[in-house]
């Protein structure tokens, strides 16, 4: 049905709690913070090196698919920036990805990112795009102390100035 009024944002915390329970997962406690760290952009966008991370269970077709029902999966794929967007696949039980199956750009806009690069709105793209940190990571200390810092180190190797992160 058409929306005659603006739809209120869905309150996912409660819905996901029910979803996890039905799937036999333990209750998920979302991190709660009052403030956030801040690292200002170091240079103008047309000079920045940009990359993108998806947590939407996206992989190259030539590689093994993500386990859509995994728990505590710290797998992290580097996806070559020149990848043909038609060669990407999605395995994610978190949401309906029917649209993204037809056009990956509605969840992981690799073609749009390359267009903005060609238009000069961003300086360059890093050689690696990323897929990882899919939902249901319960061992948060491993994430914060190991997996995420290792990911940041890889971004530094690629001289990344800006990361665009897209959850499922």
């Amino acid at each position: 049905m058409d929306q005659t009024e603006e739809q209120e944002p869905i309150r996912y915390a409660e819905l996901l709690a029910e979803h996890y329970k039905a799937a036999g997962h333990p209750p998920y406690r979302w991190s709660v913070h009052d403030t956030a760290p801040f690292a200002p952009l170091k240079r103008p966008l047309p000079e920045c090196t940009v990359t993108m991370l998806t947590a939407g269970g996206i992989s190259e077709r030539a590689r093994s698919p993500w386990n859509a029902w995994a728990r505590n999966d710290h797998r992290l794929d580097a996806i070559p920036v020149g990848v043909d967007s038609a060669h990407l696949q999605i395995h994610d039980a978190y949401c309906d990805h029917g649209d993204a199956d037809r056009d990956i750009n509605c969840q992981f806009p690799v073609d749009r990112l390359r267009e903005l690069r060609q238009l000069g709105e961003i300086g360059t793209l890093a050689p690696r795009l990323w897929s990882g940190f899919m939902g249901r990571i319960y061992d948060r200390s491993r994430l914060v102390e190991q997996s995420a810092p290792a990911f940041a180190a890889a971004l530094k190797e690629d001289h990344v100035d800006l990361l665009i992160a897209v959850p499922a």
Partner: protein
């Protein structure tokens, strides 16, 4: 994902986190977030709608460029054309 962005930002790299889940984003507070009230799985909009996809992507870039503090949030005015709900895949249960 917001948590990953927080760690990356603490290590000196700027991040923007796109969000279709406003309540979760307000809890985690990524360094910069763009909320768009689209279904999960359609963070950048509808398939083959390149203008919409570019608009969301540009909103991410604009926030990266303009933010002056951690926890900055852009709320996009775009509306999804139909009512939507949380629709996880239950086939694996």
């Amino acid at each position: 994902m917001g948590l990953v962005c927080r760690v990356v930002e603490e290590l000196g790299i700027s991040t923007v986190c796109l969000s279709t889940a406003r309540d979760l984003t307000l809890q985690v507070i990524p360094p910069r977030a763009v909320f768009v009230n689209f279904p999960m799985g359609n963070a950048f909009g509808a398939p083959f709608d390149t203008r919409q996809q570019l608009r969301v992507l540009r909103a991410c870039l604009e926030l990266a460029d303009s933010a002056t503090r951690g926890g900055a949030l852009t709320e996009m005015p775009d509306r999804w054309p139909t009512e939507f709900r949380f629709k996880p895949d239950r086939s694996g249960m």
